[in-house]
């Protein structure tokens, strides 16, 4: 963990209200992995007050990219940044996804904008010669991550709540037939998506390697405030420093509040 003054070197809207913000962070960029996050101060006033955790989307040399959807004051501020602006960041924070070196067939399951780190991870897996299927769920077609921004080798599956693109229903139902094919499964997104994924894996493919990143509200990102506790089968862990990526079987899913 360290303090970084990151310079905005790109900011592009890739879909409605969603930007890829490119940050030059220096040498630390090469050490960041998808699933880790930057804890970014949004402005220098008291409102918004708290830093915002932004997941690492992709890394490229000394650059970290984050995918920001405008949800509130902090994300709106981030998406308004211009090239040359400097951002006060802590990071990279937390533990990211770890690619299983033995896995040849990888399944990535994401909900909403939780897809970001999975794309960076998919690119790493492809570079190692693995086969990758990426399945994403969204409420409607306009919120689905554009296929054109994915590597061509990725098999891309889409589910929408309203059926306006791809499968109509939950992404976790869509991927049922891929659970057996996959050697390892990685999930990220809002609570209902990762909970449904964990539930399906435990029933259909118990013991298959799986990791999920959990989105918890946090204040400090250093492990001090205990805002982001995750109930585990044994004890409790902090999403900010012990996660946000956890082994899917270690999380006590039945003790989570949806």
């Amino acid at each position: 963990m360290s303090r970084i003054l990151a310079m905005v070197v790109g900011n592009k809207e890739i879909m409605p209200a969603t930007h890829v913000v490119r940050l030059r962070v220096g040498p630390i960029g090469g050490q960041a992995s998808p699933g880790q996050f930057l804890h970014i101060r949004c402005g220098d006033g008291h409102d918004p007050l708290l830093r915002r955790p932004m997941s690492v989307y992709r890394t490229e040399g000394d650059v970290i990219e984050i995918l920001v959807r405008t949800m509130g004051k902090g994300s709106a501020w981030l998406n308004d940044r211009r090239i040359g602006d400097e951002l006060d960041c802590l990071g990279p924070q937390g533990r990211g996804f770890r690619l299983d070196p033995m896995a040849r067939h990888l399944l990535f399951v994401g909900g909403g904008h939780g897809v970001a780190p999975l794309i960076g991870l998919a690119e790493q897996a492809l570079a190692k010669g693995s086969s990758v299927t990426l399945a994403v769920g969204a409420s409607t077609a306009s919120l689905v991550f554009p296929a054109g921004l994915l590597p061509a080798q990725v098999e891309y599956l889409v589910a929408t709540d309203d059926g306006s693109a791809g499968y109509r229903g939950m992404v976790t139902d869509l991927v049922e037939d891929w659970l057996g094919w996959a050697d390892a499964i990685y999930g990220y997104g809002q609570t209902p998506t990762v909970e449904a994924l964990a539930d399906k894996m435990q029933r259909r493919v118990p013991r298959k390697p799986g990791q999920v990143a959990l989105e918890e509200r946090m204040a400090c990102s250093t492990g001090a405030c205990l805002s982001c506790m995750v109930e585990m089968r044994r004890g409790q862990l902090r999403a900010c420093v012990d996660g946000p990526v956890f082994d899917i079987y270690q999380v006590a899913w039945d003790q989570r509040t949806a």
């Binding site: 409102d47 830093r51 509200r217 400090c220 001090a224 805002s227 409790q236 509040t257």
Partner: protein
């Protein structure tokens, strides 16, 4: 020539700053007084056990660190969501999650004993008897330099601040703790009481070495999409810059009521906020929520204080304390 002269002036100025006395003493009558090298402390609940932030900032620079509240038994805390942001502040309902007094003594105190910075352990009772029990357990433990009594956590007891609301109960607990420890005892007050001066007087009369205030204020945020409270616990404690004016007012009141040092807590985000507390009558301040936002907040205050003291023509930070009180001619002057 002029360059040399101004360099000399700069040296003299910096020399004057380094000679400014920032030290503060708490617990003059305690067996082992708590000497703070500067009046800036990390507030309980925002700094873990000190070890977490030690990876990011130089925690040895602090005047003192106050641990998060500990209880007799380990506590898992409340379900999430535990925090929510509010305008210029945040609500928290962590639920006093902690490892329990035994593990603090076994695992944390040995680390603190290696540190320059004194660590004050904040203790919270689930019953009145817990306070004395923990005070006895922590007495004489190397690495523990003082106690802060959390008689006012808004998140634990059903119905809120059972103990802190009652001057007699606050006095009884303080008395009980005093009888079981030679450590300096700081009593932390809640703002959510009818007569905070009465509680402060009772704590002082019962042997408190200092009074710290304020704890968080009880609040609630409702998620308008779900029509449910945003925190799983329902209510939470409000902290951050939003509560600073309330804290300044209560420090101003209480510091004129008691003779022991007062420690100002609540929304300190800048050197100016800290100075405001001192002018209101605080001998020291604690930095809490702002550490989450800017981990260097406390260190920036420590670095800036000598200049503030010098600019008023003083030698010691103690000269600032209570300057805003009405009886003081410095305030009466136009």
């Amino acid at each position: 020539m002029s360059g040399v002269a101004s360099l000399g002036a700069q040296d003299a100025y910096e020399g004057a700053l380094s000679s400014v006395d920032l030290s503060v003493e708490i617990g003059v009558n305690a067996k082992v007084p708590l000497i703070l090298k500067n009046p800036v402390m990390a507030a309980s609940g925002t700094f873990g056990y000190g070890v977490e932030y030690a990876k990011l900032i130089d925690v040895q620079r602090f005047g003192a660190i106050v641990s998060k509240s500990i209880t007799v038994h380990a506590n898992r805390g409340h379900r999430g969501p535990r925090i929510v942001e509010t305008p210029a502040g945040m609500l928290n309902a962590i639920g006093l999650q902690n490892v329990g007094v035994r593990r603090v003594i076994k695992e944390m105190a040995p680390i603190w004993a290696q540190w320059d910075v004194p660590v004050v352990v904040n203790i919270a009772g689930e019953t009145a008897g817990d306070y004395a029990r923990m005070a006895a357990d922590l007495d004489g433990v190397p690495g523990v330099s003082g106690l802060e009594l959390n008689i006012s956590c808004p998140n634990v007891w059903e119905g809120g601040q059972v103990v802190g609301e009652d001057a007699a109960a606050a006095g009884a607990i303080t008395h009980d703790v005093r009888a079981h420890t030679g450590l300096p005892v700081i009593v932390k007050l809640s703002p959510g009481v009818a007569d905070i001066r009465g509680v402060a007087r009772a704590a002082e009369a019962a042997g408190a070495d200092a009074i710290s205030l304020i704890n968080t204020l009880v609040g609630m945020k409702i998620d308008t999409r779900t029509a449910r409270p945003a925190l799983a616990h329902g209510t939470g404690g409000l902290s951050g810059p939003a509560i600073h004016p309330i804290a300044v007012w209560l420090v101003y009141l209480v510091s004129q009521e008691v003779n022991v040092p007062v420690v100002g807590i609540g929304g300190v985000a800048s050197p100016d906020d800290a100075v405001e507390f001192m002018l209101a009558g605080a001998s020291a301040v604690q930095v809490g929520t702002s550490t989450f936002v800017e981990p260097n907040t406390a260190i920036e205050i420590i670095d800036r204080l000598p200049e503030v003291v010098r600019s008023r023509g003083y030698q010691s930070v103690r000269n600032l304390v209570g300057l805003a009180h009405p009886a003081d001619p410095a305030v009466a002057a136009p």
